[in-house]
Symmetry: C2
Subunit: 122 residues, 2 copies
DNA sequence: CAGGATCCTGCCTGATACTG
DNA sequence: CAGTATCAGGCAGGATCCTG
């Protein structure tokens, strides 16, 4: 087993399927500013509409929200459901692949909370 | 409890200690190209020297390795031990805070492996 | 309501050369 | 060996305006 970590590729835009390291593979998909927050919010709210995401994830712009959602959809992390009503209605939710990330996100969040607690006690 | 996710800040350079969301807090520290790979490698090898990191983490440059190590040290994720010998010798290892991240990294890696397996079976 | 289209910029990242 | 210093560029990310 090779202990080297093959990071010799730019993420998130190269062909991730040639990646040797699973961590890098994961970061190729998730390693951007808004991906984790979006998944994290969806994990707590099931199906969510576009503008609710925009409202609840403070600071995100339409450009980045749309871009991030498109990419997450492309990698089958989320699913987009469009209703052709007027006004239009679009809902996003996690796929099974996306739901499999929840424990990881929870772990990251728990780690963060723990560290914040430690920071404050100093 | 507020379900909103406050991401209205630039990471990784703003004051992370004012962050509301623990996930964002964590990403402020870890959310860059090489942080996870470095921690991931250290988690598998305990103390590691600078040039070994550089050799094993394929593609990283001295600039980014040094910068990433400094930042991780600043946030007490890793510890740097310097031996004033000739030639110099510097070792890096995870702190307790850093080790607490291993389960998260493992989870991310496991998720990646699972998805790669699924991808290949198609 | 759910984006598209544009333009713009900072800094993340890399390449190269040098040093105690 | 373990970095520092310097220069340069590309792209992630943001701001703004527009639309079916």
């Amino acid at each position: 087993m090779n202990k080297d970590i093959d990071c010799n590729q730019k993420f998130p835009n190269d062909n991730i399927y040639e990646t040797q390291c699973a961590t890098i593979y994961a970061l190729n998909i998730l390693g951007q500013k808004w991906k984790f927050p979006i998944i994290w919010y969806l994990s707590k709210n099931d199906t969510t509409r576009y503008n609710e995401l925009k409202r609840k994830i403070k600071g995100i712009t339409t450009t980045m929200l749309t871009k991030s959602l498109r990419e997450l959809e492309e990698y089958s992390i989320i699913i987009r459901t469009q209703y052709n009503t007027i006004p239009p209605k679009v809902e996003y939710s996690l796929t099974e692949r996306g739901k499999a990330l929840i424990p990881v996100l929870s772990g990251l969040n728990a780690w963060g909370e723990e560290q914040i607690k430690i920071d404050k006690s100093k």
